[in-house]
């Protein structure tokens, strides 16, 4: 108790010191830093738990053992001797130490070693604080490696990669960049602002500050940059600040040449523009139909249908089509949507706003519109065309009609021509026939032999008459011979012949025939075809009965119309010899050939009347 009492103050003081020490000890024990205290012989006097953990030794293994003995087996390496010497000299040492731990591996420790002195100023020992920096160092190593990798990578990139310092000077330019911007940039410390076109310089400066001083990464700014050969190209620059230890030291970025992209975009825009122009200016209506609704209609379509664009868009397409067409059009549509290609143009009837029905031609294709299939339909109003076609058809029909009429007329003309030709040929034939007949007449065997028969009879019976008969007979035949080629003869000449002929007949048909000739003198200069009257007389004899009691009477005279009449009383023979039809026809044909008024022949109840127009003599010397 006394001891306790005598030491009370000291105890209290001691107690106070102990409390302080205990506090410090607690700090030492709890700190994550490794702390140990060495005595003046570099023997471990104290180690905290962090150090035992770091070194791998237990407290017992460390205390009262020297650093050299424990770690270096008595001999300290040279590097450590320096530290020891400076400590012995009373100096503090700080640095990173590579230290072995118990199992032989090493660790890096940031180490602070300081000597502590007693009250007299003599070095009593050393306090050493160690911070394990192995992790940090490894991190730094990794960082360096990563940096290296990044550099290598960026060197390989086709895009330009750069780094700038805060003065906008180039600190790094990758291979692509050096190639792009030239050797001037090989040597960095060149301002980045020299590569942009002047008009964009301010914008670039602004963006530079945003990244470098506001730490706002730029997600892609577009510039026109000048490459080494002076050519300007479209570029997109993305940049991000470079921050080291919380401090922005500059920025790095990527330059992407988007010239091709821009060109492509321009081409696309142009193409789009072209199509838009085409569609807007198309003379055909163009619509896009999706799910049965009109999604697009060009102006021409609106014009065709007489609607405003707003009235068409999002309305059912079928609303504008004649109901009768819905079924066929629907079928067409579904087949098309299934992918079938139609080369044929569909014709349909549309109804305009004013309810007028128009005929259109549809040409449709299925394609993509806003991500789903849609019908792209070209619509042509062919109402006018049809009208014109109809008119053309009508005109064509009219023309064909005219043509056929013309053909018919040509055929008719041709037929008439053929007929005329045939007629002419027939007339010529008949002319030949009549000439032949006349020729036959001149030597008519029947007449001649009948006459000769009479003559032979007369010679003995009536010699004088026979003489006269032969005179007249020769006169008749001479006349025939002389006039066979004449078309017309004087009536007077013909009458002279006729007298002789009648004389012969009278001898043959004694009292059975009575020919009365009564021609005025003024008509004797008129003309007639040769042998006409002779033929008529012969005809009368051939077809009529004659006897003494009922003689055949033939009257020959000129009527008031200057027609020569040859009339005989009609007493037809009961059975007729088949007529050769030559006699009368012969006369008719000859007049026809001469283009003179043809004679008329008329058989009445009692008479046969032949009328032959006499041709007035027009020659100056009759």
């Amino acid at each position: 108790m006394e001891k306790a009492n005598s030491n009370n103050t000291s105890n209290i003081i001691h107690g106070k010191r102990n409390t302080e020490l205990n506090k410090l000890r607690l700090v030492f024990e709890q700190t994550p830093g490794a702390i140990f205290i060495l005595d003046k012989d570099f023997k471990f006097e104290y180690v905290n738990p962090s150090f035992t953990k770091l070194s791998g030794y237990t407290k017992d293994e460390l205390l009262n053992r020297s650093v050299g003995e424990l770690f270096y087996h008595k001999d300290l390496p040279e590097s450590r001797k320096e530290i020891v010497e400076s400590l012995i000299n009373g100096e503090k040492w700080q640095g990173e130490l590579l230290t072995f731990n118990k199992n032989g591996s090493t660790y890096w420790a940031n180490t602070i070693a300081a000597p502590y002195k007693d009250e007299t100023g003599n070095i009593d020992g050393y306090i050493v604080i160690q911070q394990d920096v192995t992790e940090r160092n490894r991190y730094n190593q990794e960082l360096k490696k990563s940096e290296q990798k990044y550099r290598e990578l960026s060197e390989m990139l086709p895009q330009t990669v750069y780094e700038l310092d805060l003065n906008a000077n180039l600190k790094y330019l990758n291979k692509a960049g050096r190639e792009k911007f030239g050797t001037a940039y090989e040597n960095t410390d060149v301002s980045v602002f020299s590569i942009v076109v002047p008009e964009q310089l301010e914008r670039m400066k602004f963006n530079f500050c945003n990244v470098s001083f506001q730490n706002i990464p730029s997600k892609g700014n577009f510039y026109k940059l000048m490459q080494s050969d002076g050519q300007v190209f479209e570029a997109m620059i993305s940049a991000t600040p470079m921050i080291v230890d919380g401090k922005t030291i500059g920025q790095r970025g990527v330059v992407i040449d988007i010239s091709d992209h821009v060109a492509m975009q321009n081409a696309l825009r142009e193409s789009e523009e072209k199509y838009r122009t085409l569609i807007e200016n198309a003379t055909d209506g163009i619509v896009i139909v999706q799910n049965g609704l009109l999604k697009f209609a060009n102006q021409t379509m609106c014009d065709i249908m007489n609607y405003n664009m707003d009235e068409l868009i999002d309305k059912p397409f079928l609303d504008y089509i004649d109901k009768a067409e819905h079924e066929s059009l629907g079928l067409f549509h579904s087949r098309r949507m299934e992918g079938e290609q139609f080369s044929n143009i569909l014709r349909s009837q549309f109804i305009r706003k004013d309810n007028i029905m128009i005929t259109v031609e549809l040409n449709a294709r299925t394609s993509n519109y806003n991500g789903s299939p849609a019908g792209f339909i070209v619509i042509r109003d062919i109402t006018d065309r049809l009208k014109i076609e109809n008119e053309l058809q009508l005109a064509k029909n009219e023309l064909e009609k005219l043509n056929s009429q013309l053909e018919k007329r040509v055929k008719e003309s041709s037929k008439r021509l053929t007929e005329a030709r045939t007629q002419l040929i027939n007339l010529q034939k008949e002319n030949l026939q009549s000439q032949f007949d006349v020729l036959k007449q001149q030597v008519n065997p029947h007449f001649l032999f009948n006459s000769l028969n009479v003559l032979t009879s007369l010679i003995k019976l009536e010699p004088d008459l026979a003489e006269k008969f032969s005179e007249q007979l020769s006169k008749v035949y001479r006349y025939v011979l002389e006039n066979k080629d004449n078309e017309l003869v004087d009536l007077n000449t013909e009458l002279n012949f006729l007298d002789a002929y009648i004389f012969l007949l009278n001898i043959r048909f004694v009292e059975k025939l009575n020919v009365k000739l009564n021609i005025p003198d003024e008509n004797r200069c008129d003309k007639i075809i040769p042998l006409a009257m002779q033929l008529l007389i012969e005809n009368a004899i051939k077809h009529n009965v004659m006897s003494k009691s009922n003689p055949l009477v033939i009257d020959i005279f000129v009527d008031d119309n200057n027609y020569l009449n040859v009339i005989n009383n009609l007493q037809e023979r009961p059975s007729q010899i088949v007529s050769t039809g030559v006699g009368l026809k012969n006369i008719l044909n000859r007049y026809q050939l001469l283009k003179l008024t043809v004679p008329t022949f008329e058989k009445t109840k009692n008479q046969f009347v032949a009328k032959i127009q006499l041709v007035k003599n027009t020659s100056p010397n009759p």
């Binding site: 032999f449 009948n450 028969n453 059975k512 010899i577």
Partner: protein, 137 residues
């Protein structure tokens, strides 16, 4: 021998008659007839002769018309003024004919032929006659 001459031309008939008399004065020309009508009348009243000289074309009709009225079975010699076609038809039918003006030698031959021939039926049917009148060419 009795002969009838049917001939419308007076001088022709007279000539045949004269010629026959010159050839054989024994032959009797019993009639000279000029028309069908006259002939029919005669044949109705008189006996048939031995031979008829018949002209085809008579004043009032064709001589064939006679046979429609009276049946004649005696021999007939046709006379015609040169109708070549008719002549050919006569030849084909073996009918005797004489061409006018009649040549005396021909007339002698014909008369001699019939003088020695007994009466025979030499009826000429209408078809044959028609062929003679209108021979087919």
């Amino acid at each position: 021998m009795k002969i009838v001459i049917i001939e419308d031309e007076v001088f022709a008939a007279r000539r045949i008659e004269n010629m026959i008399k010159e050839i054989d004065p024994q032959i009797e020309v019993v009639a000279k007839l000029e028309s069908v009508r006259e002939s029919v009348e005669w044949f109705k009243k008189n006996d048939e002769p031995d031979l008829i000289f018949l002209d085809i074309h008579l004043d009032d009709d064709l001589s064939f018309a006679i046979f429609k009225e009276v049946r004649i079975s005696c021999s007939i010699v046709f006379t015609t003024a040169t109708d070549e076609l008719a002549a050919r038809a006569f030849q084909l039918k073996e009918i005797d004919y004489l061409l006018k003006p009649i040549i005396k030698a021909d007339l002698i031959l014909v008369i001699e032929k019939y003088k020695n021939q007994s009466k025979k039926n030499c009826y000429i049917d209408p078809d044959t006659f028609n062929e003679i009148i209108n021979p087919r060419t």
